[in-house]
């Protein structure tokens, strides 16, 4: 049975780089891998979702549906709640506790739900929340939220630390390698 990882967030937060990194590592590890993402309209600050699936056997469908995800990596609190129904009963949510108001909230047409992560926890959902934005800033850039969260995911997936750092070196531009490795460590050791 394939391991299913969903990466969800707000367009512009860098989820495509995160899925690229993860896909490259899994391919190098010899897994069959499928990654599915939607480009276009959703890039403009909308809700974005990427599916990553891997298995030693063949992976067929590139997408993840309700009740199938082993992990949901959410770049924002509300997005974790939006996709919670995709989680398996023993699945885990890793979430950046940052709040980004969507336009209906900004213009007062809807309310941002309070204590949304506690609500999920109270329903028996495993929620691992961390302030990835602060950790990314500590690493040197607010844009490194994606790598902080990949560091946190690496802890769960059981793929070697060295493979991840090698993949970071192979994927990001040389001048950003140190920053990203630091961001990865902050997530990994959180």
């Amino acid at each position: 049975m394939a391991v299913s990882v969903m990466i969800v967030g707000v367009g512009g937060q860098g989820s495509l780089l995160a899925s690229k990194l993860l896909g490259n590592i899994l391919t190098a590890e010899g897994y069959d891998v499928k990654v599915s993402e939607v480009h276009g309209m959703s890039q403009r600050g909308g809700s974005v979702v990427t599916y990553v699936k891997y298995d030693k056997e063949k992976v067929y469908s590139p997408i993840i549906t309700a009740g199938e995800a082993d992990y949901i990596i959410s770049f924002e609190k509300l997005e974790a709640a939006r996709y919670a129904s995709f989680l398996k009963s023993d699945g885990k949510i890793i979430v950046n506790t940052q709040q980004i108001d969507p336009m209906p909230v900004i213009i007062g047409a809807a309310a941002y739900p309070e204590n949304i992560l506690d609500e999920l926890t109270s329903k028996g959902v495993y929620v691992d929340g961390l302030d990835a934005l602060s950790l990314a800033e500590e690493a040197g850039s607010s844009k490194a939220v994606n790598i902080v969260l990949m560091g946190r995911l690496a802890k769960y997936l059981g793929i070697g630390y060295d493979e991840w750092t090698a993949a970071i070196e192979a994927t990001v531009k040389p001048k950003f390698v140190e920053l990203n490795k630091k961001a990865f460590d902050l997530g990994y050791n959180y």
Partner: protein
Amino acid sequence: MKKLMIGNEAVARGLYEGGINLVSSYPGTPSTEITEFLSKYDDIYSEWAPNEKVAMEVAFGASLAGKRSACCMKHVGLNVAADPLFTLSYTGVTGGLVVCVADDPAMHSSQNEQDSRHYAIASKVPMLEPADSAEALAFAKSAFALSEQFDTPVLFRMCTRMAHSQSIVETGDREDFEGIAYEKKPWKYIMTPGNAIKRHPYVEERTKKLTELAENCEYNRVEMGGTELGIITSGTCYQYVKEVFGDSVSILKLGMINPLPVNLIKDFAAKVDRLVIVEELDPIIETHCNNIGVKAEGKSLFSNLGEFSQQTVREVLLGEKPETVSADSPVPVRPPVMCSGCPHRGMFYTLAKNKVTVLGDIGCYTLGSAPPLDALDSTLCMGASVSGIHGFNKASDNCGHTVCVIGDSTFMHSGVTGLINIAYNMSNSTVIVLDNSITGMTGHQQNPTTGYNIKGDPAGKINLEALCRSVGINRVRVVDPYNLEECDKAVKEELAADEPSVIISRRPCVLLKYVKTGKPLKVNSDKCKSCKRCMKLGCPSLSFKDGKAFVDPTLCVGCGVCPQLCPFGAIESEVEE
């Protein structure tokens, strides 16, 4: 070499390995990356054409010259290119010609979810559809030979899931295709009635031969498993079926989806107790089964709408629903929005403030329809704003209170013909070109107005002002959409003028790398009187916190539009402090 590739990159790789010499396309999600990846190969010629019809005719020219060529487009782009396609079916090709078309079931980034397979049937052209990136590469590589062997363009169908899903491929070597020497063949290439009447029987004969091929070819395969249930499917739907059933059912997987085989389907149907067709959008395979007298269930079970998934297959064929947990609190939607600093915002604010009727077009600026701007009245297809306003003004007494908006790339695509109609048939229309100096929505492709080609090298640059004047528009003016007063003045004056006019609202997309953004602005909460006027802009950087306006410093690019709205001077730049 094993590599993870999105479907579109795999198509590009396949076309490359197949010996392509030229690609000409117009961008359109989810097809854009095929051409972008092809443009990275220096040994082939690639370009962005102004529209899909031009692109297909360029590819035709290359084929006529004996080279292998392709053009790529989204499903609605094929509507634009339908004219050359239908007669290309008659002329056939010299060098192989592949037309890639990407459908968008569920309309992730489109205005309709039409099924391109209808075009293959209607134009009598073979169509291939891969089910993962490895097949995308293999099918694309083989498509040129198929095109040349049967003297036909080949349609290559992708859908959003295929186009944007990555799976592992093994790349190969590029085929050495020298080209075919040009030879004048008027009987084949001059489609006068006298010649076309002789080509039509060839087309019918070709379909018969292609049907014979479909019975036994590398594209179609039977995977026999349990015989209680047999499923005919293609593309991504094959993956969903396999995910649910594995080897427990029998599957006829079609990779050539036009023309469809007859005996292969009849034989398969005879081996299984129950036959089900799993296909997204329209019942193309099902209708074919009905036509050849094979009883199959399709759309009586599955929807014509949207995308499928393994869950769709599981629910419909096994009656299984997943157990899920979700929050009770309502989760507000997060629609896409115009970016912080988007140059379109100032113009849309101006139009909304003046309560103008706005005929819109296709691009990022369709987002001007969302609240709080609510600044659009229509969006139909590429170019329809300019043609539409002419009809609207001719037919209504709302003339003088209606404008149309269209982006620079869309104007080049098919807006300019509408403007020619305005000039020729003389309507007093006001056309606003939202010139952000790039094709934005599809992810920053160059176009004829930018001065750069697909590789980013300097190229010819169409002067929008000169173009509009040359077709007969006397009133052409340029405004900066970051300057609200200037926008307001231009809109009021041009609406009041008694002749047609063009307002070019010009400022480059804020996401372009060369655009220097400013420092984030800040709200002086002592000065803020909570009037919420700034909230009318719909800027994602602006929100209300503790009863006062708040600028998110991680998002704001200091465009300076919101301070122009604040009657109390409460939104300040850091420099002024």
